[in-house]
Amino acid sequence: MSRPNDLLQGTLDLLILKILALEPMNGWAMSLRLKQVSGEVLQVSDGSLYPALHKLEQEGWISSQWQVTESKRRAKYYQLTVLGREKLEQERAQWERLSSAVSLVVRLKEA
């Protein structure tokens, strides 16, 4: 039972944007990819993925369209918009600032 707030605030957004930056994808494929890339460390329930996708779409960072999958089923595919690309850059910069700051502090402690 992992809810969005189990993840670091905003991290799920960053992950989704990053994955979509590589290629357009439907929700199902994305849930597989999330599990695959983040392994056992970050558990994202299918339940929290979709609200996050819808939020990002409302913000104008991703857009969606219906396409037919390889297995000939209709599925909703998401892709990054121009705004989304900018947002990803910001989020990544911020993440790096944050993580380097955190690791700095952690190292201080060890010394």
Binding site: D46, G47, S63, R74, T81, E86
Partner: protein, 892 residues
């Protein structure tokens, strides 16, 4: 240090780009909003399809891992952690949801309110009273205090307040003209005074209010004639033919709205004026003047020491009052140099004309408005506790909604919409009530309030009412909605009896304490005002108003003294001769009407005590048998004899200046009087009369009564004492006046008892309004107390049953259960008394003979509340004592 700086810089840059981004965001957002608003079925269908696809894929994946069909599907669903809740979350992300949902919420709220009409009616009623009272009062405040001068760009109009030797004085025509020429900040300046002039030649003679102007009244006040033209420069200066502008009202009444009226003549006070134009309809400043005419040249060039004008200037666009005031000060200083004999020791200040007009009415009106706001606050608190007790009964329903996928925020919105619906109905009812009672309210207010005729429910007032409605609905609904939504839980479903949280109990008690405090505050105010009214009514009047008719006949200010005296002598003789009249006399101003002629006096053979030769005193001019007619008791000596140098003083005068011996036989010199030969003129005190109350709410001051023939004063009020109903004398009095002078206009008749009644009208109105508000507050509080007590009894029925079964007496049980809530009342009482102690000082100006901290008032208010509390607790207490133990125990 450097890193922190760079970090800050980077953040700034990012925020900047976010700002730009928000605009472009709409390119993506708008189609989505469009789609979710107007093609909702598609949007929801899309969501279902999207999630169905996911579940199908997951199910297939699970089956490939070897699960059975049912197992695979169940596992896929479980991974969603509540499919319906997730769908709702996705819908929440759309941000347009609330529009559709609100419509649904409102429909739901209306349905649920209809099933509980009593609850709905109670809420609507209390909010309607609160919002209605505030709307009506705000419309008065809006017209009288916020926009008292209904003229174009009234914010640019300033009144010039003048001072001579630090004392306030009125304006002077030559000085007004000088300011118009030398103060650049003034776009235009005018000075004016108003007087009554008899209009003849156009129908019945009538006395009409006439505005005498200097300077440029039209440009200053921003008034354009609707017909004809304004005054020319020559006319404005009083040179040339006398010109007049007439009011729309006069034009319609006397000139049948003749469009060719310009050029016609009217006669005012025997002098003929050419009508040059008609003033616009609805002109309400300066109030009630029917004719505007420039002052004659000799008045415009009067001595610079005279002061009788209200001076008004229009500031240039964008000029501040401070800037204008400093320019004015420069002009004042220059004039002091140029006219040292008359203009030294003078100063002037600028007051916004709006402020000036509303100066006197502001305080009492704002106090009333504050009181009404307190009632609204109380109504909200009452409504909130109603909602809360209703909400607690709905916890189960809330829990079901939560289980079915509603978010807490969604629940709050649902319950808030209910309180909003009630508030909107209450607001509409309140505005309707305000519009019905507005004319009644206006008729009860003092008629001399500025701009009273334009009081209406205008756009600003309606906007304020709408804001009050929304704020009331949200404020009253917020905490209860949060409580109910927050306390709802899946576990709540399992509990057989909904358990009430400590916190909601606390909230309810806080609300009750607030209610009690507010009603104590209002009650204390009402008691204080009632006490003042009683004190006021029990003060001796000093005269006997029964059977007395008063006849008001004003004379033009320039009436020669001989003519005045001749008329009054003839009138009194004729009035006294009317059958059924016991006595007739005349006085310059009626008792209780306020106002006085100030004067100075010195006492013969007594040196001045404080270095000043003359002391100040109020002078009253009288003629005929005034004391007999008005019923003023002669305490010593006799009335004055016509033509003799005699006068009468009142008891306050005798006490102040002749404390240890009789004033009779002493001589006074009034206003430094001299006879024709230049010898000081002394008059003998021949009588002492009882103190007459001249101002409704002031103690009598020392007064001297003189024969009217001794002192010039063109205002005349005749006082006629009849054997029976005084109003029966009206026709005979009218006839008598016509016989003396057919052109004389009688301003008004009144029974003196009416005057007495009218003098206490304002304090009585205030006491009634406050009392009414306090009564509403008490009623609402009683409902609150009753609600809390009965709820407590219901919730603790089981406990009561156990206690009774164990042998406690019914009385003891009732006491135990109910005194707990009484502590809350006590806390509210203390808070209310403390608030009253802080706030009643604002009432000081409205009080008479009672201190704002009068302990009796506080005690009475507390007593009133205690009685109400006891009454409201009686039924619940009886209910508690009457619980049958076995039934209560079984009741689970």
């Amino acid at each position: 240090m450097g890193a922190a700086f760079l970090g800050g810089f980077a953040r700034g840059a990012v925020e900047g780009s976010v700002g730009r981004m928000s605009l472009r965001k709409w390119i993506y957002k708008l189609p989505l909003i469009w789609k979710s608003l107007f093609r909702r079925r598609d949007t929801d269908g899309d969501l279902d399809d999207e999630l169905a696809f996911h579940i199908q894929m997951q199910t297939e994946a699970n089956r490939q891992r070897g699960m059975s069909e049912a197992e695979a599907r169940y596992a896929a669903l479980r991974q969603f952690d509540g499919l319906q809740q997730r769908k709702e979350e996705c819908r929440d992300m759309r941000q347009t949801n609330w529009i559709e949902e609100s419509a649904g919420d409102i429909a739901y709220a209306i349905r649920s309110l209809r099933s509980r009409p009593g609850f709905c009616a109670l809420g609507v009623l209390s909010l309607a009273i609160g919002i209605g009272a505030n709307t009506a009062l705000f419309s008065v405040v809006d017209a009288v205090v916020l926009h008292p001068v209904p003229l174009r760009d009234a914010h640019r109009l300033v009144a010039v307040d003048e001072f001579k030797d630090g004392k306030s004085s009125n304006g002077n025509p030559p000085r007004t003209a000088d300011w118009g020429a030398t103060v650049p900040a003034f776009e235009a300046v005018t000075g004016f005074y108003s007087e009554d002039a008899v209009l003849t030649g156009a129908g019945e003679p009538a006395k009409i209010a006439t505005l005498r102007t200097c300077g440029d009244p039209l440009a200053t006040l921003g008034v354009n004639p609707q017909l004809g033209r304004g005054f020319t420069a020559a006319e404005r200066s009083g040179a040339g033919d006398p010109a007049a502008l007439i009011a729309d009202e006069l034009w319609r009444e006397r000139f049948s709205a003749d469009r060719a009226v310009a050029g016609r003549l009217i006669t005012l006070g025997g002098k003929s004026y050419t009508i040059v134009g008609v003033l616009p309809a609805g002109l309400a400043y300066p109030s009630q003047t029917l004719v505007w005419t420039p002052m004659p040249r000799d008045i415009q060039q009067v001595d610079r020491r005279a002061g009788f004008l209200r001076t008004v200037a229009r500031l240039g666009a964008g000029v501040t009052r401070t800037a204008a005031a400093s320019e004015l000060n420069v002009a004042v200083a220059q004039l002091a140099q140029r006219y040292p004999a008359t203009d030294r020791q003078r100063s002037a200040a600028l007051v916004s004309l709006n402020d000036l007009e509303s100066r006197e009415s502001r305080g009492p009106l704002l106090i009333l408005l504050a009181t009404a706001l307190a009632v609204l606050l109380l109504a909200c608190v009452n409504f909130a506790s109603l909602l809360l007790s209703r909400g607690l009964a709905r916890q189960r329903e809330a829990s079901i909604r939560l289980a079915l996928g509603a978010g807490t925020g969604r629940l709050v919105r649902l319950y808030l919409s209910e309180s909003l619906v009630v508030a909107v109905i209450g607001g509409l009812a309140g505005v309707a009530a305000a519009s019905w009672t507005l004319s009644l309210l206006v008729s009860m207010l003092p008629p001399d309030l500025p701009n009273l005729e334009s009081v209406s429910l205008n756009g600003r007032v309606l906007l304020a009412a709408a804001a009050m409605t929304l704020i009331s609905g949200l404020a009253a609904g917020w905490a209860p909605a949060r409580r109910v939504a927050g306390s709802a839980s899946i576990e709540g479903l399992r509990a057989r009896i909904s358990t009430e949280g400590r916190e909601s109990r606390w909230l309810q008690k806080t609300l009750l304490a607030g209610q009690v405090a507010l009603s104590v505050l209002l009650l204390t105010g009402a008691v204080l005002l009632t006490q003042s009214l009683v004190r006021l009514g029990s003060e001796p009047l000093g005269f006997q108003p029964e059977h007395v008719l008063t006849v008001n006949i004003g004379m033009p200010w320039d009436t020669p003294e001989v003519q005045l005296n001749h008329f009054s002598k003839a009138a009194i003789e004729r009035f006294a001769a009317i059958p059924g009249v016991r006595a007739a006399g005349m006085i310059d101003r009626l008792p209780l009407k306020g106002g006085t002629q100030g004067g100075t006096f010195s006492i013969r053979n007594r040196p001045a005590t404080d270095g000043r030769p003359d002391a100040e005193v109020s002078l009253r001019a009288m003629a005929g048998n005034y004391f007999g007619a008005a019923g003023v008791q002669l305490l010593a000596g006799r009335d004055v004899q016509e033509g003799a140098r005699e006068l009468v003083v009142n008891q306050a005068f005798a006490a102040a200046y002749f404390a240890d011996h009789s004033p009779l036989g002493q001589a006074l010199r009034i206003n430094g009087a001299k006879d024709k030969a230049g010898v000081p003129r002394w008059s003998e005190i021949v009588g002492v009369v009882a103190d007459v109350r001249q101002e409704p709410s002031q103690k009598p001051t020392p007064e001297i009564y003189l024969a009217a023939s001794d002192t010039y004063w063109p205002r005349q009020v005749y006082v006629v004492r009849a054997a029976g109903d005084p109003m029966q004398m009206v026709a005979a009095v009218r006839q008598a006046v016509r016989e003396i002078d057919p052109a004389k206009v009688i301003d008004s008749f009144a029974a003196m008892e009416q005057t007495v009644h009218g003098a206490t009208a304002q304090p009585r109105l205030r006491a009634r309004v406050f009392g009414g508000f306090a009564a509403i507050a008490l009623l609402l509080t009683a409902l609150g107390i009753y609600g809390l007590q009965s709820q407590t009894v219901t919730q603790r029925t089981k406990e009561i049953g156990i206690r009774l079964a164990l042998g406690e007496t019914p009385m003891a049980v009732a006491r135990r259960i109910l005194t707990e809530n009484l502590q809350v009342v006590a806390i509210g009482l203390i808070l209310g008394a403390a608030a009253s102690a802080l706030l009643t000082s604002f009432l000081t100006s409205l009080l008479y003979g009672v201190s704002p901290l009068d302990p009796a008032a506080f005690a009475l208010a507390a007593l009133g509340l205690a009685i109400v509390t006891a009454a409201a607790s009686f039924l619940p207490a009886r209910h508690a004592a009457g619980v049958a133990p076995l039934t209560a125990l079984r009741n689970d």
